[in-house]
């Protein structure tokens, strides 16, 4: 008798219900916030100037079997050398983009959701004047094409946690510098971002 009672309790628990509903639902539209750890890689001025950074992302997506989303991500970094961008003391990157995604239920409460997308890439450097309490911003612009496999875990039907790995190809064709003298590229770069976050479905 105790065994049946325990089984009945487990089957009606919120977690079991969430699992069942997650599988039944076709509507996985969501809003999410997350944090990540981003690094620039390769032989380029970004990788040679900025430390690994903490990133913050806000993401909105509309889902059926296929989906589309838009996101805004910002990171802050302190340059560890002034060899490539001058005496910047503070830097910030912002990305505003969109992506296409697909979801594949794995089992239980797990959902696999790879993304392919495109975003703007804006790097702001800030230089402070030693002569007066003033600062000077200068901006480097480009685009970013990325792929990002993502895994989701349903806590309840409307609440998920996620983790993803994103690899991005940054292209800055309008930036000019002497590649031979600087020994590095100012036109292409790569970035790797490991992200986690929480997603609210609607």
């Amino acid at each position: 008798m105790k065994k049946y009672l325990l089984m009945a309790l487990l089957l009606n628990s919120p977690f079991a219900q969430a699992q069942k509903e997650a599988f039944d639902s076709d509507n996985l539209s969501s809003f999410s916030i997350g944090a990540g750890y981003k690094s620039f890689i390769g032989n380029n001025f970004l990788a040679k100037t900025y430390n690994n950074q903490i990133s913050f992302v806000y993401d909105f997506r509309l889902y059926k079997k296929w989906g589309a989303g838009t996101f805004y991500r910002t990171t802050q970094a302190k340059p560890f050398t002034n060899q490539y961008v001058g005496n910047s003391v503070y830097a910030r990157t912002t990305e505003l983009g969109f992506y296409a995604t697909y979801y594949q239920k794995i089992n239980g409460r797990w959902l696999f959701s790879p993304k392919v997308g495109f975003s703007t890439f804006l790097l702001k450097n800030q230089l402070r004047s030693p002569y007066q309490s003033d600062y000077y911003n200068y901006f480097t612009r480009g685009t970013n094409f990325f792929i990002a496999p993502e895994i989701n875990y349903f806590i309840t039907k409307g609440l998920r946690v996620f983790a993803n790995t994103e690899y991005g190809f940054i292209n800055m064709p309008r930036v000019t510098a002497n590649k031979t003298a600087t020994g590095t590229s100012y036109n292409v770069a790569n970035q790797l971002n490991f992200g986690i976050g929480i997603k609210v479905g609607f």
Partner: protein, 137 residues
């Protein structure tokens, strides 16, 4: 009321035009050598890229905005290379550590620590300058 708005807009314009504007889409590199009077390369001489932009305000017709956009040091042979963002001001190489120029390179009037960079001679964003002879001031 109309005059107040025009005055406010003019004041805003002056605030934005007085500041040195930096361009993060264009980076220049200047390279050369620093030597003493015996043509021996001077190691560890501090160098700055100094930018100056004159502007006028209602109160002062001869104001100047100044910034150090990049800094570096010479290597053990006296060679240096500095990369800095493009700006809309006059660009100089500023000698640190109390050194001044002793040869005939064009310097800023009255200041032998400043060497004017002729950016018209940039070749593919690179400016190579002749050896600069310096002495302690």
């Amino acid at each position: 009321m109309k005059h107040k708005i025009i005055f406010f807009l003019l004041a805003l314009t002056c605030i934005s035009c007085r500041k040195i504007q930096l361009d993060g889409m264009t980076f220049y590199t200047v390279q050369g050598k620093i030597s003493d009077s015996f043509n021996q390369g001077k190691a560890s001489v501090g160098l700055d890229i100094y930018v100056e932009k004159p502007f006028a305000t209602f109160l002062n017709a001869n104001s100047t905005d100044r910034a150090i956009t990049a800094s570096s040091k010479t290597d053990q042979n006296g060679n240096f290379k500095i990369t800095f963002p493009k700006s809309d001001g006059e660009v100089y190489l500023l000698l640190q550590n109390g050194y001044g120029v002793i040869d005939s390179i064009a310097i800023n009037s009255g200041n032998s620590q400043l060497i004017k960079l002729d950016l018209e001679k940039l070749n593919n964003n690179l400016l190579e300058i002749n050896t600069i002879k310096i002495k302690g001031l």
